[in-house]
Structures are given as structure tokens and as C-alpha cells.
Amino acid sequence: MTVSAISRPGERDRLIVKLGQIDWTLCLLLTAITGIGAVMLYSIAGASWSPWAARHLILYGVCFVVMIVLATVDLRVWFALAYPIYGVALLMLLAVAVVGHSTMGAQRWLDIGPIRIQPSEIIKVGLVLALARFYHALPADRAKWSWWLLIPAVLIGFPAALVAHQPDLGTAVLIAATGGLMMVLSGLSLRVVGVALAFVAVAVPLAAKFLLKPYQNARLFTFLNPEADRSGAGYHIIQSEIALGSGGLLGKGLGLGTQSQLNFLPEKSTDFIFSSMAEELGFLGCATVLLLYGAVIFVTLRTAAIAYSHFGRLAASGVTITFALCVLINGAMVMGLAPVVGVPMPLLSFGGTVMITMMAGFALVLSVRVHRYSEVTRG
């Protein structure tokens, strides 16, 4: 297919053409990461497809098909639905705050019929869409520093506060950071960014002292000194570091990771899947996966860079930011560089809603790429 052919009016709206425009590199990268995740889930279940590996792959397959379908949805539809999606997600967050289902002391789930939804995940995509929609219509000088910025501040702050209240500090921080970085990418004054960073540096220790729940505080201090509480809160970090370190260069081999197979590693299928992998596949496996993640970030950022519409740029970059932050926070956490917060490793960790939102995000990225020449109208 030639450039001339694709530049014919209406040609780009043909489904077959759209499918050809899909970024199959990204699809391959995502599938590779998910595949490694499935292998690990199979291994740590004691060479068993249940309870994790099979469901992980099936869910990915379904999500993949939906992603491809959504990738062909015109960017203008995404644009039109940006605020409604954000609104629904926010309402669900409010509903969780009122009637949410409690697991492990935190209200995070909403049961709708047979489906169990985690609204804090949906708001991630909703926020990216809403901010992209908002900034699309905002002139650059106003995006730099103006009263208009109160609107994105509320768009970010309200859901972040609700999630923090659940309490799910990790996701709240992730939402706030994603929103903040999108504001920066949209042109926020760097001077303001500097002031904001300075404010955070002062406010976080204070908040830790007065606002955090005891277990959140414990996690924070345990991160600073895990040896102080070996069998208590420091246990997660120490066991994770042992799993990582004992993997060495080549790993102990699939199914032979004693830390994960004997359950010394906590949350081995979800938050600490990276540690399980590090133990069994070693440094080479870890480096490979980190490279894959880096490649995903590169590919999605490139998509953002080549999009014609500001909405497309911001939407794709927002998804990238969410994804990159997840990877970095989880990686830092399992390596003992950050406090233990419940942020999963995208596509590697087992967990339904996370997979769905991530794939929805990538559907958005794919759609931006497919429709990169489209000028989204404002209206």
C-alpha cells in the first residue's frame, strides 16, 4: 500500500486500511510480555495452568481482540466519550466509597451483578481521556499558568482523593502523578513544576506523619529500614530481595525458584511476580523484560509524537505515563527501592481489572496511531 493510495479521501476510513495501520510492533511487544507473565504464572503454580496462567492468557486474548476492535474506533468517538467515561468512572469511585466491597481492609471493589469492578483502575483511563480532552481545547498560554488549570487540578485531585480514601495509596499516587505529568507535557510552566516538587518534598513527610493509616506508615518506615522488622512488615521486602538476588545471572530455572515455590515470597502471582521471575529466570530474564517495557514506552511515546491532534498526543502520552509509572514503581518496590504499595507490574502480574484497563489504554494508543492524521474537531 502506497502513500498516495492512503491519501485518497475516505481511503483511511476503510477497515482493512485501518487494520494495516495498526502498530503491530506494539502488539508483539505486549504479547511477548504477557507470554512471559503466563509462563511465570504457570511455573509458580507448580507447573499448573490453574489458577493463574490459563485465566491470564484467556483474558489477554479477549482483551487483545477488543483492543484491535477499539483501535479502529475513530478518535473523534474517543474524544466525544472522554468526559462521559471519566464521569462514569468517578461515579463508580463514589459508589465504592459508599457501598464498596472490602478486601484486605480496603474498599476497592464494586459488585455489579456477577462482575466485580475496580473503579480505581477505570479512572486511570478516564482521567487520561478527560485531561487530553480538556487540554486539546486549551491554548498554550493558558496551559502554562492560569486559573483554567484549576479544572485539571480538580479532575486529578478528586479521584485521587477518593482512591486514597479507600485506602489505596499506591493507585492514588499513580493517578496524581499521571495527571501531574500530563499537565507538564501539556505545557505547565517549569517554574510552577519546580515549586510543586518543592512543595511535595515538604508535604509528603508531614502527610506521612499526620494523615496516613498506621499500616501505610509502617510500610513507609519499613521501606526505609526493612531489617528492623524482619518477620513483620519488613518481611515482604526482604523476601523479595532474597528472591531477586538468589536468582543470579541465569536464575534457578523454571519451577525451581524456592522463594516463590515455597511461598516465602508474598503475593507471588500479583505484586511480586517480577521477583518470582527474577528468581527463576535470573538477570538475563529481568533485563529482557525491562527492555521489552522500555520498547513499549518508546513505541507508545513515538505514537504520541507523530499524532496530528493534540488530543491524540496527550491521550497516547497519558497511557504511556501510566504504564511507565506502573513499571517503575513496581520495579522499585520489589527491588527494595520504594515502599510496598499495591501497584502491579503491567501485563506480567495476574489481575483482571489491571489487564483490562491497560489493554483499553493501549487500544487508545493504537487508535491514536491509526487515526494520527485525523484533526479532531472541537465540538
Binding site: L185, G248, L262, N263, E279, G282, C286, H310, R313
Partner: protein, 625 residues
């Protein structure tokens, strides 16, 4: 919102975005590189350290208790051994619902309420990491039944341990002792570095007798099994290459003879007392019985409160080793010592005193059993005349008597390896000065009582047996030996002892007098062996247990309330002409020594003599024409 965005502004917006997106990409990349750096640090630089930590997590060494050393008699007959014990262990953590598990368990194995209460206490007291043996000694049916239902009993594991067993339950209970569960006190007593095997479930340590005294030798050294465990400490697999085999405890061979000991227990029946027999050539203790006895196996299992009280409160005191701790005046058996002291001081054995049943001296009457008439020294020993010895003792004074008595092992703790001996007392002038600050003078009126083995004097059955064996040996101050060997290490023989510093003819005189005791004297009716030419020699003794006057009037002889009667002693050796075995018998509140103790001594002595091939040969050969 303004609909006319100028192109340059759009371009400006795009340019700014791309710069910042590029910056973000760089930062994200830097973040990934930082993670990679941390991975290099953990997985490549410090990998060795973490691999070690991982192995510490994965593997644990589980102690494997060593089999406890056997305890054998002199001929290798087993007095204490081990048998397999099917038992259940409970490994508790904070989630264990002890009540629910015990309730479920009670449906599978018989557990009464008292047992359940004690178990709950034990489980509560146990250190957190140590599993507790909750049911022991199950039948195979119960054991397999519980095994099948294991999933309903979280934390409960079935296992086969070893438990001590005493085949002769009672006969050796005081000498061999027993093992019982380790108490918190046992652990704190051993200091800060207590052997971790003490915490092993169901482990038992020696609490009495040989089991206690040689506990460390018998215990052996624990081995270890290398096992792979999961995070809850459950054993996933075993790595037999990592096993360190346990070192079994050393066997301990005693000098006791099971046949003699068992016969002694039979002979005592319900009577309370002690019997000790020694080989008077070697000093080996062949028999050391305390009666009545108890079943040591009960202590291994653990006694309930009422069971223990029944034993502790029984007035014949089965829990005491009376051979070592029942110290009483030796009574007339002591006349042998007085006579020897007299002979050593130049006393003429032909000297005659006349006994009229009462002898007035020092302003008061002194009594004898009956009017013996005129007696020389030999006759006075044979008929046990008190009046003769009142006067002999007065000639000697306490110090000369005490000196001889001490040479024969009285008032002394004999090192036979097991604890709990009472030294008793041989009084002299210095003793009186030391012990009675308000009346530090030995009064002449105290000497006659010493002459007939009463007063301050106090001895136990072991000491009297040592005395008898030294008389019978005549040359060496034999030492008693109870432990023949520990493992391969043979203990020093009792013959390696100083010589008796007495003239041989004086000892021979005492021996011939002891022969006369059995031949025609006080024991002639009671101490016959009925073994043809083999005769016994001996001396009777009656120890006053209460004053015959006063509110609790003691009973002289075998009359009156049991607890008020006199104690009966008998010392003996046989054969009378060429002594091989010496013994002492105590029957508490037995009345006259001759009547209560001498027949027992004869019965026990017969077993020893009949087992001895030299003596058998003498009995079986036709009497010379």
C-alpha cells in the same frame, strides 16, 4: 472557548509537547536503567549472599534424637531399653485453634478430661517453635486412624519416636531411676546453652538414679535431618544427603544381678525396707533393693496428680531409696564394731560379765532382753547381750569405737555413682562438742548406749553392707561399686582400696562370733540356708524407732501399731567359712532383727550362692566320710 487557534500556536503547543515528551521518555528510560543497575547489584554483585539467605529459608535442620543408651545388669540383662512410640505432634502458630483440634482428636483417641486439661497447659507452656507431643503411645489402629484424618487436624503430624521402657518395672526403680519429660526448670538449670535436643517433642531426661546421674552419657548426641520447608515450616521434602546421624547414648552396665534383685523384691512382699548385697572379693554391689517399689514406666508416661499423691502419701514411702536414705541406729549389729575396738585395745575376749537382765550403773538401771547369765565376748555377741556391751563400751570410750566404725565405712557417703545418699552419723566426743553448743560434753552415761548401737548413731543399709563385706573380706577396706562400665570405660574395681588396719586374728574372732550367732545365737532359728555345708554368718540388730516410755510409746518387738515398732536389721555373709557375699537387710518397723530380717537375708543369699559355680560344686559334692 476560542475556536480560532492560530497555526503558530498549534505548532508551539506541538513543539513544547514533543520536547517534554522526549524529556519524559528520557526520564522513563533512566528509571529503567536505574532498575537494571539495582538488578546488577542484587543479582550479580550480591548474588552469593542472597543465595545463602535463600537456602537458609529453604532448608532447616531438624534434630533427630539419639537412641538412649541401654542400662544392663552384670550379665547383660536389659534393665532399661527403648521401644517405638506412635505419637502425635502439634506444631502451633498463632492461628492454631487448640480447643477445636483437641476436641476433634478426642473423637479419634481416648482422651479423658484430666488428660485434656494437662495437655492444654503443656501446649500453652511450650515455646512457640517447638512442637508438642500431644498423644503418645497410641496403638497402631489409633495411629493409622489419625493419619487418615490428618487433613481435619491442621498442625498435627503423626510420627514415630522412642520411649524408655523398664522391663522389670519395680525391682530396679530406685537404682536405675526413670526418665520423664523435660520441665522448664530442667532447661534453665542447664544454663544459657541448653542442648537444643531438650526442646525436641517428647524428649525425656533422667530424673532419678542412674538415669539422672549418667544422663549425659546415656543421652548421646543428637543428629540432624536436612529438610526442605515451606514458609509455614511444613516439611516439603527430605534431603538425606545432608543428614548428620545421631550418636547413640552409651550403654551402662551395672554390677547388679537381676536374679538376686528380683528375688529380693519378692522376699520383701509388702514389707518396707532395704536389702544390699556385695561381692566381698570385688566390692561389686549385686543387689540394692528398696521396698516397696513403684513402676518406673508410670513416670515415663507422666503421673496424674492423684496417682502421684497416692505414691507420695503412702506411709511405706515407695518413692525413697531406703538403701541409701533410711538412716537408723544400727542396733546390735554395731556390737561387732565395739567388740573389734575392744580387742584392738587389748580387751581379753575371755573376760566374763554376768547378765541379770538389769545392771545398775550411774544411778539408774540398764536393761537387757533377758538374763543371759555369765558370758564371755563371743557368747555376748552370739546372744547379743546388752549388759556385756554397756560395760565394754565404758572401758573404751566413744572415740575408740568411732574410729573403728569409720574404718568400716559407717558415717561416710560411698561413691557409687548415684546421688541421694545420707551420710548418717558416728558420734564421738568432738561431735558432741560441735553439735551441742549448750551441752558440749560427752557424758559417760551416753557411752553404754553407743555400745549397743543406739543413741546418736545412724547408718543406712549400704553402709552396713559395706561394714559386713569388709568384715567378711578381712583384708581390704572394700569400696562398693555399682556401675561396672559406661560404654567401653570400665569403672575402677572396689578392691583398689586401702587395707583394713586391724589384726587378722581379731577380725577372725569377730567372724567366728558371727558364725555363732547363726549356729546357736539369736539368729539360729531364722538364718539357716539349708545348703548343706554352706552356712551363713551374721548379726542381728534392732533399732529403736520410738522411746518405750512417753506419750508415743514405742513397741518393742513385733507388737503394737506398725509405725511404732522397732526397725529390724540383719547383716550377714556366706559361706561362713570362706566368705563370698555380704549383705545387710533392713525391715522398717519389722520388730526383732532376727525374726523379720534374718529370714529375708537367708532367702536372698541362697540365690547368690546357688548361682555361684564354686559354691554349687561344694554343695553338690558328697560330704566327706
Amino acid at each position: 472557548m476560542d475556536s480560532a487557534l492560530f497555526l503558530d500556536e498549534v505548532n508551539e503547543r506541538q513543539g513544547l509537547f514533543q520536547r517534554r515528551a522526549f524529556l519524559f521518555g528520557g526520564l522513563a528510560g533512566a528509571g529503567l536503567v536505574a532498575l537494571g543497575g539495582r538488578l546488577i547489584q542484587l543479582q550479580l554483585v550480591e548474588a552469593g549472599r542472597y543465595q545463602l539467605l535463600s537456602e537458609h529459608n529453604q532448608f532447616q535442620f531438624v534434630l533427630s534424637p539419639p537412641p538412649r543408651g541401654l542400662i544392663l545388669d552384670r550379665n547383660g540383662i536389659v534393665l532399661a531399653s527403648n521401644r517405638p512410640d506412635f505419637r502425635l505432634l502439634l506444631a502451633k502458630d498463632e492461628t492454631t485453634d487448640v480447643d477445636a483440634i483437641l476436641a476433634r482428636l478426642a473423637q479419634l483417641v481416648p482422651l479423658d478430661a484430666a488428660h485434656l486439661r494437662r495437655l492444654k497447659d503443656e501446649i500453652e507452656d511450650a515455646p512457640r517453635k517447638a512442637p508438642v507431643a500431644i498423644v503418645e503411645d497410641m496403638t497402631w489402629e489409633e495411629f493409622s486412624g489419625v493419619n487418615v484424618r490428618a487433613p481435619e487436624l491442621p498442625g498435627v503430624t503423626a510420627d514415630v519416636g522412642e520411649v524408655r521402657v523398664y522391663p522389670f518395672s519395680g525391682a530396679f526403680a530406685h537404682v536405675v531411676g526413670y526418665v520423664a519429660k523435660v520441665s522448664g526448670k530442667d532447661i534453665s538449670k542447664t544454663g544459657p546453652n541448653a542442648d537444643p535436643i531438650l526442646l525436641n517433642p517428647g524428649f525425656r531426661i533422667g530424673k532419678q538414679g542412674v538415669e539422672k546421674a549418667f544422663d549425659l552419657d546415656l543421652r548421646g548426641k543428637a543428629g540432624a535431618k536436612k529438610v526442605e520447608v515451606d514458609v509455614k515450616g511444613r516439611v516439603v521434602s527430605q534431603d538425606s544427603r545432608g543428614d548428620i546421624p545421631p550418636t547413640p547414648g552409651a550403654p551402662i552396665r551395672l554390677t547388679l544381678d537381676a536374679d538376686i534383685q528380683n528375688r529380693a523384691l519378692e522376699v520383701f512382699g509388702d514389707d518396707s525396707g532395704a536389702a544390699v548385697m556385695m561381692d566381698c572379693r570385688s566390692g561389686d554391689v549385686l543387689c540394692m533393693l528398696s521396698a516397696p517399689s513403684f513402676d518406673a514406666n508410670q513416670f515415663v508416661k507422666g503421673l496424674t496428680g492423684p496417682e502421684y499423691r497416692a505414691l507420695a502419701e503412702y506411709d511405706r514411702k515407695p518413692l525413697f531409696n531406703k538403701a541409701l536414705t533410711a538412716n537408723y541406729p544400727p542396733g546390735s549389729t554395731f556390737k561387732t564394731m565395739v567388740a573389734l575396738a575392744a580387742l584392738e585395745r587389748g580387751f581379753d575376749p575371755a573376760r566374763v560379765y554376768v547378765c541379770n537382765r538389769v545392771w545398775n550403773w550411774g544411778g539408774r538401771p540398764w536393761h537387757c532382753d533377758k538374763a543371759h547369765g555369765a558370758l564371755d565376748l563371743k557368747g555376748a555377741i552370739a546372744h547379743s547381750c546388752d549388759i556385756y556391751f554397756y560395760q565394754t563400751a565404758l572401758l573404751l570410750g566413744p572415740d575408740h569405737i568411732a574410729e573403728v566404725a569409720r574404718k568400716f565405712g559407717l558415717g561416710e557417703i560411698h561413691d557409687i555413682g548415684i546421688p541421694g545418699q545420707k551420710p548418717g552419723l558416728v558420734p564421738d566426743i568432738a561431735y558432741k562438742r560441735r553439735a551441742f553448743p549448750r551441752d558440749p560434753v560427752w557424758h559417760a552415761g551416753e557411752t553404754p548406749n553407743l555400745g549397743i548401737g543406739q543413741g546418736y548413731l545412724s547408718v543406712n543399709a549400704l553402709q552396713l553392707c559395706v561394714m559386713a563385706s569388709r568384715l567378711a573380706n578381712g583384708v581390704t577396706a572394700l569400696k562398693p561399686r555399682l556401675v561396672h562400665s559406661i560404654g567401653d570405660i570400665v569403672q575402677p574395681s572396689g578392691v583398689e582400696a586401702p587395707a583394713l588396719p586391724f589384726a587378722r586374728e581379731h577380725i577372725d574372732f569377730i567372724r567366728s562370733a558371727m558364725g555363732a550367732v547363726v549356729e546357736f545365737g539369736t539368729a539360729s532359728l531364722y538364718a539357716q540356708l539349708n545348703l548343706g555345708p554352706i552356712k551363713m554368718a551374721g548379726k542381728t540388730g534392732t533399732a529403736q524407732s520410738h522411746n518405750y516410755t512417753g506419750p508415743t510409746q514405742g513397741a518393742h518387738g513385733a507388737h503394737g501399731a506398725w509405725a511404732l515398732r522397732d526397725h529390724a536389721w540383719f547383716i550377714a555373709y556366706a559361706p561362713a567359712d570362706a566368705p563370698r557375699y555380704a549383705m545387710s537387710v533392713l525391715v522398717e518397723h519389722g520388730g526383732f532383727g532376727a525374726e523379720a530380717s534374718a529370714p529375708k537375708a537367708a532367702q536372698i543369699m541362697r540365690v547368690a550362692l546357688l548361682k555361684d559355680p564354686e559354691i554349687r560344686a561344694r554343695i553338690e559334692q558328697p560330704a566327706p566320710a
